[in-house]
Symmetry: C2
Subunit: 373 residues, 2 copies
């Protein structure tokens, strides 16, 4: 990923400075991987794990799915075979199954990866399966982290200044001020663990940057963040164009707005790519032009490629839960495994719990002051 | 605008097919123009009117601002001088003035253009001035169209299939189902009048396309549209990426979501343009590549240029109100004048009133059926 630094438009943020905890290198962590989730399972899952295996020497994989199929395919994936245990799951959750139906399927591969985290066999889950079912199962089986009211869905977006974490992206359509503050805490922890930023800045998405903009709920959340241990990192309100400008490292919003902003931004980048293709296809002269700039265009494509941090993370649960895109390829699935491993090895949830404790302590402190007056 | 057709990615929608009402050609309409609004007033206003004058032979302009300044500058703009009357306004609303303060300034150029519409001297207003003040003054002076609960802000966005009207973009942060239905009516009228589409399709922005997605308010608005005279044109829910895909001609949403979607999309296009510039600037080879594709890139830039339909329209008022971007150039200001003239000559407000009457009639009809049972 380091050569993508060439695209940084402002120099003050890099991706390579990961704050890795040296004591964890060599420690053994287990990811429970749903071998049957996604449009091209289990092939893409196995090929993705094969790519990821080299990058995580301390990792074990609990591979859950159709045992007969997996054991036969593992012969072509020796690196995966070397680090994994296979567990049989009699059923799989189809991509279009309603979450309520998926919850009743107790022997699905998706259910069983969640069980493995709930009972401590694994620290994280990766699946390219049905998102709605995944969130519902994660909430019921893995359960919400103590002190967090509602888990959220987070993802990483490209910006002119490096990567930006955005949440919630649709797990909670309506949110109150408390939810937004918790999303800020979880976004900060994610930016630390996965983007390696020591003090990520945080923005609250609104229709204007001025303090009086937006509704009561947003102003309350901003007030709470300004008064909190995160005050030094809280930038205030940001607007839609700040997401791709990279004004802050974390952008916090409710699930309705976040989902629409994410898809609108992706759609606009896609439009731009489509129009550009037209430009290059106009004549033989423009085709020569394309050949001259192709290497740069390839780098640009990678820079804005959603597969870099593939999929979405469900944050605020008692374990790491990473959802890979359903239609991803092996590279994309390997990226999802990287994200899950980063979250596990950097103790993503401990960062959240620490922040929550600091906030509670500050609140108790405030009350003590009030009592003493 | 016709050569932009080359960028249409799907063939089924063109911009050129304007449904002009032949009886109106030659009729005289008056636009009240705020000469003092915008970052470069009055120069850009006068230069923009000079460009627009040729395109609207039947138009008169009531130019309101500092009379001494305007009369001296008009010597350089003979075409504007030929079609305009100058009216003196002793004050102007600064770009950063709060709407409440602007409302108290009764002799500002912005106030006086609104007065001209309210008293019937003009059919429409164009200003590049302070948006918040403009909306507040328009609501109080021009007043809301009968049958419309709340005026909205609309704009035209580029898509792969042609132009897309989106509203509301921030006039109303929170909206109920009735507001959303009225926005659909106003968006349809706008797409007819300005984009020249005889039967524009309408989408309601949501987090998924399925009927059960989103909140109660969205489902109610969708039900009302499905049961209305617009049912044949109502596509159902659309998602963020549908805006730039051009899935529907009109995208309806609340002002909070619309404002964020608009700015997120613009930001993503800007990111793409910035990265592309980097690609072309890499070496002398890529610079040659740039020269080979420059004509196509220029067309692409025009296609996604917000100046094409510059600024935003405040719709749902007793007159046409067009807000040009504050920092626009003469071309941009001329485009804003074009939009205002299109709305006036195509009887934009009459289309809205007609739809409202059809809906009321249908409702009365339904009640008559219920009474008869």
């Amino acid at each position: 990923m380091s050569d993508k630094g060439a695209f940084l438009l402002d120099g003050d943020k890099t991706e390579t400075d990961l704050v890795r905890d040296a004591s964890d290198i060599g420690a053994q962590y287990t990811l429970a991987v749903d071998a049957m989730g996604g449009d091209h399972a289990p092939d893409v899952v196995l090929a993705g794990l094969e790519l990821a295996a080299d990058r995580h020497p301390g990792a074990r994989v609990l591979l859950i799915g159709d045992e007969a199929v997996l054991l036969s395919r593992l012969k072509q994936h020796p690196k995966v075979a070397a680090i994994c245990d296979v567990r049989h799951a009699p059923t799989a959750v189809p991509m279009d199954m309603k979450p309520t139906a998926a919850l009743r399927l107790r022997d699905s591969s998706l259910r069983m990866v969640m069980d493995a985290v709930a009972n401590g066999e694994a620290q994280g889950v990766v699946s390219a399966g049905n998102s709605g079912a995944m969130l519902a199962l994660a909430k019921i089986v893995i359960k919400t982290l103590p002190g967090i009211a509602r888990p959220a869905m987070a993802a990483v977006n490209p910006s002119a200044r490096g990567d930006v974490v955005m949440l919630d992206l649709g797990a909670n359509l309506g949110c109150d001020a408390r939810n937004l503050v918790e999303f800020a805490i979880m976004g900060e922890a994610f930016a630390k663990a996965v983007l390696g930023l020591p003090r990520p800045s945080i923005g609250l998405l609104n229709v204007g940057a001025e303090e009086l903009k937006g509704d009561e709920r947003l102003r309350q959340a901003a007030d709470s963040l300004r008064d909190s241990v995160l005050s030094g990192q809280f930038h205030g309100f940001v607007e839609g164009h700040d997401i791709t400008a990279g004004t802050t490292d974390v952008v916090v919003t409710d699930g309705f707005t976040g989902n629409i902003a994410l898809k609108t931004g992706e759609g606009a980048l896609k439009l731009s790519a489509q129009l550009l293709r037209r430009v290059f296809e106009t004549s033989w002269l423009t085709k020569i032009g394309y050949l001259l700039v192709r290497p740069g265009l390839e780098r640009m494509r990678e820079w804005i490629d959603p597969r870099r941090y593939n999929g979405a993370m469900f944050v605020g649960l008692n374990g790491v839960v990473v959802k890979s895109h359903g239609g991803t390829d092996a590279d994309g699935f390997a990226s999802a495994v990287d994200v899950a491993m980063d979250m596990v090895t950097h103790h993503f949830n401990d960062s959240i719990l620490e922040r929550l404790a600091q906030m509670t302590a500050a609140r108790v402190g405030d009350e003590a002051v009030v009592d003493a007056l």
